[in-house]
Amino acid sequence: MPALLEIRGLTAGLQGQRAVTEVVSQVDLDVQAGEILGVVGESGCGKSTLAAAIMRLLLPPQVLQSGSMTLRLKDGKTYELLDLPEADLRQLRWRRLSYIPQGSMNSLNPVLRIERQMTDTLIQHGLSREEALRRSIAALELVNLEPRLLDSYPHELSGGMRQRVIIAAAVSMRPALIVADELTTALDVVTQRQILQELAAIRDELGATILIITHDMGVVAQIADRVAVMYAGKIAELGTVNGIFESPLHPYSQGLIGSIPREGGHRVEGLPGEAPSPWNYPAGCRFHTRCPHVIDRCRAQVPALLPQGDGTWAACHLYEPEVLSNA
């Protein structure tokens, strides 16, 4: 079955005075219909740039350099997201493709009532006022909010409620794909857990596909079906949640899993060093400066993301056939 969203060779960067600094390099990623795919990585690894690029919300100095993104809907329609003119893109947004932004605390306009902010888009997408209102109420009920919240202003709501309003707004047109960028970061763990449960329930109810961007392995473990581990603008490993948590392949994933506190008095092992910033990504494998298993070719050659069986993909020279046979 073809993927709902097929990303190929996506490269995006920051426009400087003279040159463009690559932030996300040659990302290939398939998002399957109906799944929740988590993208994890440290701060500054390019996950938010990836999310903004998918939504085509990059703002100068961010620039999209190359790549393609194909959205294949169940009804057979196919869209090349990067070639779409603005007007068509506007039609696609919210109806097919929604976005739950990072910093949801400030994502609602403080001077407009919730009702206006939920319905204005629906009305612009061709719904009548009554229908828009009815859908907004239904969406609020999906996230366990009362309809009378529609009369409130954002500052009258708590952080968790605001986040729920945003989720409700994002699902009100039953989009095929929801891109959620750090949606629980500003919330306490209890609220975080509830919201993730609600999101999973929404996926089951609407049959939506969710791409969730986070730095929190706990979030991924709780909600995602598959995980893409990002490091320094590239995907290091892609696999099922169980696969990556039980037997991570890429040394970076191993480091990430090793740094999660566990029961039983295990010592938490952090990764030595710091993630490189886009201005000084190392040549070859970008992880080689911190990798405990570094070999010569890591310094010279960029590893490709290759299938390793069981639906796991890793971009690491250690798992390339000729290296494995030498060992």
Partner: protein, 359 residues
């Protein structure tokens, strides 16, 4: 929902509305208290500060009288005259008594601010009322027009911040904003008024006309008003443009703007409901602040364009140390500025729901 629960929800909604109305009322009341206090403080400061200006009005008055009559009086006669005038102007008592009398007459005596020296025995109140329409007309109209034009222009160049035309507009506005208003006025008088002779550049209306409701008089009045208003508008408008541009740019970086675009709203809706509406709130406050800061510029313009407004009256009164008139001009200017500020402040809760709670 049961009927009972529904009724309860309705009742609580009504209660919420009542609470909101009460809060708005309290805000207005508090704001009005501040208004009265400021007015009183301003009158008091004006009363004492003018009496610190060196020069006794009586000596100036006698000097003028002597020049007009062409003869010197002897000391005894002078003493008698001064005593007489002091009594007329209420200056024969100690300063604190004068202050109390002044306040008492002003508040209880129906704005009785005493006679003017400038045009004795005309009441200061009448003098100010006669001159005020000129100042209010020029000032209010030019500030409001400057605000409307500046806000629109600033929003536009902020929205199109990366275009070349926007950058040029910023340079031009910055240059205009730092130019003193009298230089702009002088430039307009010299070039537009005298060198090119496009518009009249002096006086309130053509010399041969009398104030009456005829088309000839009104059109003369309006053409004479263009240059003074333009001087004020150019400088203030440039400031408003730059202010609004900065506000727009900071709003454009807000998360809710990204979200609005992600929702698939049309650029016009994003501009109107999310960017402009939010940037407008501080811009309205800026109007209130600028109103106070630019009235003195209008006074200078009146003098330069020979308009019979409060500015020219003030300059005349200054020459005679006419305390009554100076105080009256200050009193009415402050009254006008504070009233405009009050209106703006009371309008804010309509624009910004957050002010209703926190103010």
């Amino acid at each position: 929902m049961t009927a009972n629960a529904e009724a309860r929800a309705g009742a609580s909604a009504a209660e919420g509305q009542d609470a909101e109305r009460r809060e708005v009322f309290q805000y207005a009341l508090r704001r009005f208290g501040v208004y009265l206090f400021t007015l009183w403080a301003a009158i008091t400061v004006a009363f004492f500060i003018f009496r610190l200006v060196p020069g006794d009005p009586m000596n100036i008055l006698l000097g003028n009288l002597a020049r007009a009559e062409g003869r010197q009086r002897d000391a005894e006669e002078e003493e008698a005259l001064i005593a007489h005038f002091r009594q007329i102007f209420g200056m024969d008592e100690p300063l604190p008594n004068q202050y109390v009398n002044y306040l008492r007459k002003a508040i209880l005596g129906g704005l009785d601010l005493g006679p003017s020296f400038v045009e004795y025995p005309t009441q200061t109140k009448d003098l100010v009322f006669r001159r005020m329409p000129w100042t209010i007309g020029i000032f209010t109209t030019s500030v409001l027009l400057a605000w409307i034009v500046g806000t629109g222009l600033g929003a536009l160049i902020g929205w199109l911040q990366r275009s070349r035309l926007s950058k040029l507009a910023v340079v031009i506005s910055t240059l205009l904003q730092i130019t003193p208003v009298y230089l702009v006025a002088l430039g307009l008088i010299i070039y537009v008024g005298y060198t090119w002779r496009i518009l009249p550049a002096g006086g309130p209306y053509a010399r041969h006309l009398q104030p009456e409701w005829t088309w000839e008089f009104i059109s003369s009045l309006l053409t004479h008003a263009i240059l003074p208003m333009l001087s004020n508008m150019i400088v203030i408008g440039a400031g408003f443009t730059l202010g609004m541009r900065a506000l727009m740019i900071s709003v454009l970086g807000e998360d809710y703007l990204t979200f609005a675009r992600a929702k698939g709203l049309s650029p016009f809706t994003v501009l109107k409901d999310y960017a402009f509406r939010n940037a407008l709130i501080p811009q309205v406050t800026a109007l209130a602040i600028i109103v106070g800061a630019t009235l003195n510029g209008t006074f200078i313009i009146e003098v330069l364009f020979q308009l019979p407004g409060l500015g020219t009256l003030f300059v005349q009164a200054m020459g005679l140390r006419d305390f009554n008139t100076m105080q009256a001009v200050v009193l009415f200017s402050i009254f006008a500025v504070l009233t405009l500020t009050l209106i703006v402040d009371l309008a804010l809760p309509l624009l910004d729901p957050r002010v209703r709670r926190t103010a």
